[in-house]
Amino acid sequence: MKIHLKTFILLGVVAMLSFSLNSFAQDNTAKFKLKPGAYGKLCLECHPGFQDKLKKQHVHTPVKNGNCTGCHNPHTSAFSKLLESDASKICISCHKTLIVANALSVHKPVADGSCMKCHDPHSSANKNNLLKTGNELCLECHKSLAETLAKVKVKHNPVEKGCLNCHDPHASVKDDSLLKERVTALCVSCHKTDRPSFIKQHMNYPVATSRCTSCHDPHGSDRKGILYNNVHKPVSTRMCNQCHEEATSSSPLKVKRDGAELCRGCHSDMFNATFGKKRMHSPLLSKKGCLTCHNPHAGKEKGLLKEAPLVLCGSCHADTIKRQAKSVTKHEPVKNGNCVACHDPHASDSALLAKQASVVDLCATCHDWMKHSTHPIGDKFVDPRNKNATLNCLSCHRSHGTEYKGMMPFPAISDLCTQCHEQFRR
């Protein structure tokens, strides 16, 4: 009797589904006044290539049901490929759950509505209509990661098996970087933190709830234990207690001093030089101190920077980076993220944390020719516009670029020259 009941329910569901599909087909048949039996076949008369697509293993449901008008308008459309709406919005009209309101991270193609970067809207030999299988699809865009994965000496097994082991391809409500779970939860699902070897490797510190990626590169590295390639010396020498309380103490992960004071003990030379300067970079004086820009354990970037310099500096000075991006002429150090070529990231006696007091001397570290063959510049030449200023490179150029050639602040050279040489103004 139980079997009969199950069969009955199953048949009921099938009947309801077919009824709904049939009614949808009837709706469209009526909507477009199709000839009887034309629904699902009419389009194929002119698009015979679709017969091959329909034979593929995974076919998009509307295509399988012959419901071409689910996405396309057979007569006219304001959008390419006769789509019913903008290509970036049409998928979401059915796949509404892919847009997560409280997501901590969203995959850019999803945010942009570029679903077809990963999926074929009609059919595919791959599950979920994906264009390619496994990591091949992801690494097509994430090229620098692909290069890294090919080169690293110590590989992380889950990465080899597939990006989707750790990442959700659409969005995550749990963590950054589309992670399926919080970093630590994800790692400890494989790495048992109560194993003696794990405890020993971590010098008896209770790291089970710490963020693993503050030391380990989840995509692999050249160092044992997939530590990032740049490791802070106390970590590489396993001297955690240089900065943290003893592992046996009641608060083993607590740092011995707050903010920059903790770093001062070892980096005293840098501190003495920095704190003796007239102007300090504010983040260094903030509560986070050095950790505003540096990782305390390990990192990808040289100097244990949290990010590549252009990203790191740009996180506060976005306007400067934006200006360079828009600039007709690119200034090489800015373009390459070498902000420290001109600015001291810690402190300086000069405004804007310039590395040298003299603008001319600073520019001449690269442009040495201007010291001997240029428009008069230097301390001896007073700016005709302001007797408190002397002529220097920044009297005519903006170091982070402008919308005009040569990083000049005016569209025409004559506009620039007549700023001072007013007698030639027309």
Partner: protein
């Protein structure tokens, strides 16, 4: 009929300019420049300036390690005397109290000093009874009662203290802030906080212990704002756009109202300006650091 047309034209021509001024609130016209002191020693990268209702202008002549005082009366500058005390080596921000005392932030020592109206050092203003005790003042403002609001970047908070240093209140920075660089106190007693990195203002309403977002990101209207001032008359908020060389005006509701001045080297233009003040006539004084000068503007409103 003709009289109606003429009357309409008259109303339009008289009311339209008023409407324009209302929209922008601040209309600046170049008035003059201060290039040095009475002995013609030039200013060097001045970062601070303060005004009071008696016409006094005190300049933080930063790289000369001194203050310079002028008086502006009937559009004429008088004075220009130097105030130099060994306790202040690198003045970056200045404010004047209702009694004429000079408060100056030393950027190198990161200490707030109080001077008499004559310019004699009185003391460093040190907050008493704060926890944690480490205070690094990035900026400060005085309110109408001469209470001091310190922007403490080490403690991630704003401290309200009385002139003796006694703690009256503290407001923690909001979560996920970028880089706090200045604060302002409105006539109603609200505290505004400027996040330069996120181009956003936060507000702690009077008697409220927390900062809440006041504006959305203002990136569309400014580059990198580092200084803020509230107008006691219009309740407008003025931001100095350091990287853009301009003054950005927000209404009391935090909405963008306008932008004045532009980047450059000529008189009337700004190059990495740092602090501004407004006197009782509405004249605006700006420490134009990049041009090593202080500029005066008349408010045409």
């Amino acid at each position: 009929m003709r009289s109606i047309v003429l009357w309409s034209l008259f109303v339009l021509t008289t009311m339209y300019p008023l409407g324009c001024y209302g929209a922008d609130a601040l209309k600046l016209r170049y008035l003059g420049v201060i290039l040095g002191d009475i002995k013609e020693v030039g200013l060097k990268k001045p970062e601070g300036v303060a005004c009071d209702d008696q016409g006094q202008i005190v300049i933080a002549d930063t790289e000369n390690g001194r203050l310079v005082r002028y008086t502006l009366q009937d559009n004429a500058l008088k004075g220009g005397g130097e105030i130099k005390v060994p306790e202040v080596v690198f003045p970056v921000r200045v404010q004047l109290s209702s009694k004429g005392s000079i408060f100056v932030l030393d950027g190198q020592q990161r200490k707030l000093a109080q001077l008499t109206p004559e310019g004699t050092f009185v003391k460093y203003v040190t907050p008493v009874g704060v926890n944690p005790p480490n205070v690094v003042p990035k900026s400060f403002k005085l309110d109408s009662r001469d209470n001091i609001y310190l922007l403490d970047i080490a403690g991630e908070r704003v401290l309200e203290i009385d002139p003796t240093g006694k703690l009256l209140a503290q407001f923690p920075f909001p979560k996920n802030y970028g880089a706090m660089s200045d604060l302002a106190v409105t006539a109603g007693g609200d505290v505004l906080l400027l996040d330069s990195a996120k181009s956003t203002l936060y507000i702690a309403k009077k008697d409220a212990p927390q900062f809440a977002p006041f504006t959305k990101g203002l990136q569309e209207y400014l580059n990198f704002a580092t200084n803020m001032l509230t107008s006691s008359r219009s309740a407008d908020i003025y931001l100095i756009d350091q990287d853009g060389g301009a003054i950005v005006i927000l209404g009391p509701d935090g909405l963008f109202k306008g932008r004045q001045l532009s980047l450059g080297w000529r008189n009337g233009q700004l190059y990495y300006p740092q602090q501004m003040c407004i006197n009782k006539n509405g004249d605006v004084v700006i420490a134009d650091r990049g041009n090593s000068r202080v500029q005066l503007f008349e408010n045409l409103k």
